[in-house]
Symmetry: C2
Subunit: 505 residues, 2 copies
Amino acid sequence: MRLVVPLQGVVQGRGGLVLGSLLPCALFYVLQLYLKRKNRSSPSSSATSVSELPAGIPRTPSRGLLSSKTSTGPAPISSRAASVAGPSDSPYYVGFKKCREDPYHPASNPNGVMQLGLAENQLSLDLLRDWLAEILKDLALDGEEGNLSVSGLATYQPFDGLIELKMAVAGFMSHVMQGSVSFNPSRIILTAGATPAIETLSFCLADPGDAFLVPSPYYPGFDRDIKWRTGIDLIPAPCRSTDNFSLNIATLERAYNQAKKRGIKVRAVLVSNPSNPVGNLLNRETLYDLLDFAMAKNIHLISDEVYAGSIHGNEEFVSIAEVLQTQDFDRSRVHIIYGLSKDLSVPGFRVGVIYSFNEHVLSAASKFARFSSISVPSQRLLVSMLADSKFITRYVGQNKKRLQKMYALFVDALKQLGVDCVKSTGGFYCWADMSKFIRPYSEKGELELWAKLLNVAKINITPGSSCHCIEPGWFRCCFTTLSEDDIPVVIERMMIVINNHNDYH
Amino acid sequence: MRLVVPLQGVVQGRGGLVLGSLLPCALFYVLQLYLKRKNRSSPSSSATSVSELPAGIPRTPSRGLLSSKTSTGPAPISSRAASVAGPSDSPYYVGFKKCREDPYHPASNPNGVMQLGLAENQLSLDLLRDWLAEILKDLALDGEEGNLSVSGLATYQPFDGLIELKMAVAGFMSHVMQGSVSFNPSRIILTAGATPAIETLSFCLADPGDAFLVPSPYYPGFDRDIKWRTGIDLIPAPCRSTDNFSLNIATLERAYNQAKKRGIKVRAVLVSNPSNPVGNLLNRETLYDLLDFAMAKNIHLISDEVYAGSIHGNEEFVSIAEVLQTQDFDRSRVHIIYGLSKDLSVPGFRVGVIYSFNEHVLSAASKFARFSSISVPSQRLLVSMLADSKFITRYVGQNKKRLQKMYALFVDALKQLGVDCVKSTGGFYCWADMSKFIRPYSEKGELELWAKLLNVAKINITPGSSCHCIEPGWFRCCFTTLSEDDIPVVIERMMIVINNHNDYH
């Protein structure tokens, strides 16, 4: 219409409307055809060459003339797609890209980029391999000794997970939390990873324009997992180094009130426990306070506990579910995110968990689960694995020892470099203070050091600014993708950059 | 605030604001505690019993009094969750529920509900079983004869699918389309089923409040898959029995203009080919017209081709991709939905495909794919299966013969009952005309017959109204979950209801 209307003023008189509508369309179409033919050299790409049409199909090359409006460019994509379609310039993703393009290998690519930005645990893959090698020998389909049935693998199954796997996952969660809580399988919704678990839960708890409060520094993936498609915003509530980055209810209160003043509806507070990226735990008292806060504000509480079983320190992990067992709170506002990617080291299996005490959320999430179902053969394999309690006990125990050892080695090595880490208890990372090495003392200085570490030292770590940390100079360093032999390499590479960086300024 | 403000008027004078705010909050909190203690008998559920707190954790039972606002009920869930949380009264879902609760089995539950509402193909599961049984014997992990590696199974892999599986799926798509098209693996995004494929694509093409045009009758799942979370609306463009429910561009044009008048932005037209629920195909000329239409309106064209390989008639299936190979259109507005659930009968594996000619959409969809990734062990299994070209050729050939046979038997049996079906070519269903059996001739009459078939005859079929068919009395009957022996049972049960239904009125 935009094309046609101005021309109606040019073609006046009787028939002006018709001519004013049809003529420009026809002209425009012919012009388009001309330009296309001119620009394309491929013999198969001419729209008007009737001889190339499949035999027997009459084509009227003039059919486009019937269109009341011609196209004026590429069809627009959605604004949510447009905002993610381009390459990301966030350090978190830039670092990943570098690692993908030039991955370090001690033998085959010793000058490649070392990945300390990805929270993946490769310390215990050998245990998984041994178990899988054994089980593969015994798998058999139907028949007399069959332990699998084709209809149990290939046909439609409940989208929110097999009940057998829900039961097995509930048991595993309880196991990694050392029996301090028991989980009810009917409160579990399984999704294809913790990423869709948090997104699905978000879809359930808030509408576009609403917001969640998130103590910062927080996991950079939350911005992506929650904000991209749900239309929900995240509001950081900044924690500080003077408190060891521990959660403080007064900070939450302040962030809540500021949001309210801006007219934003806060629907939930989202915490990670163990904290990602800091690695410290929420103690019982803080959990009580969080529940009080959620109650007082009439909002939800989401506890991301994906590292609950990846504890390397001596402090006790307390699940929000454990607190609810002993205290009388409104449970319907409490939801836990879990998954097998961290504690069982199987991110490739894509198993996430929504554990909710809210029946309406469970009902909606079980329906939304059709958008992120776990492939059934993998579910069956995991049912077998988790049912093997001897293996699971051995795995959890050994994995913990390896985590402890690597954490101690890595933090010690950083210390020798002059880098201190916050004393942490869980997770695959440490939260390292490099503020004394940055000039200027600002996000700019932090990102300059990060860029040198990535491009010169070829070490990918996550800068605090990607985690919405308000103090510059902090970095998340994941150590579970490293071998012990890699640690001196990391330290040596870091040292050169840190020394040069300091000399330079 | 709603609680506080009215009471400020009651507590007048100096200090009225403070007393009016704090007093009701405190009173309300104490009342809540009292009611909770009264209602709960469990000794572990008292909020004020300090003796039950874990040792060493000081708790102030009065801390809640510090809250500036107390909770006034359950925390609200999102409107999108609330709208799906309750049970659905749509016949499409009511029928599923009945089948789940009381499934027919010829031996163990001969009076159970027969499932003709679910488009799942169980005709060739034996072929899958045999292949899986063979492959399971040969699977081995690492080692000398290993064909699997643990890091290739357990660790993070690209969220939008393994490149090996993209290549295999591209080959399979070409195979089931009899080599008429070749597909480029780099245009493929893999998702955990066709359901997240269509949702992800929708997220990419339109924003909340925008709409897609969909020729009706259409697959009832579209309303769920597209509307639930994206905020996009679907506008039916009604096709009619006088045209054999074939797509008509004039109808699309009308629906488009009406939407425009109402101020709605139409972003795409969505077709299924073969049509679901009718089963007829879009011929080449209609595909050209659709492309013209999309071009003229500057909108996208989505072609759902999940049944492309499930052709049981003699007409030739033409993919929109085939037309694009020979014609010069703006490809960037064309997107295909595919999956392995129908043509390979593995819905439990959850493999969906977005095939797009638009680089921006591919880029955004590959990022959104993290919300619906396919579990990697299942991907590896499918890579093996699809690479076995001897098996795939045999499977596709035999499955087609079985489909043809069942379609002919079932449609013939319906005919003997006096029920005619639209002549169809693809899909797992037929589109049956029972309009002469309904009284009144309206949606009400249709749903009365549907309810009797479900509750009396215990046969679940999908009424046309669930598919937005504007003519009453049409039903989608899936025949691929039946065995040949089931057909006489279905017909006998239907006959009793149809005869009684007629006599009754």
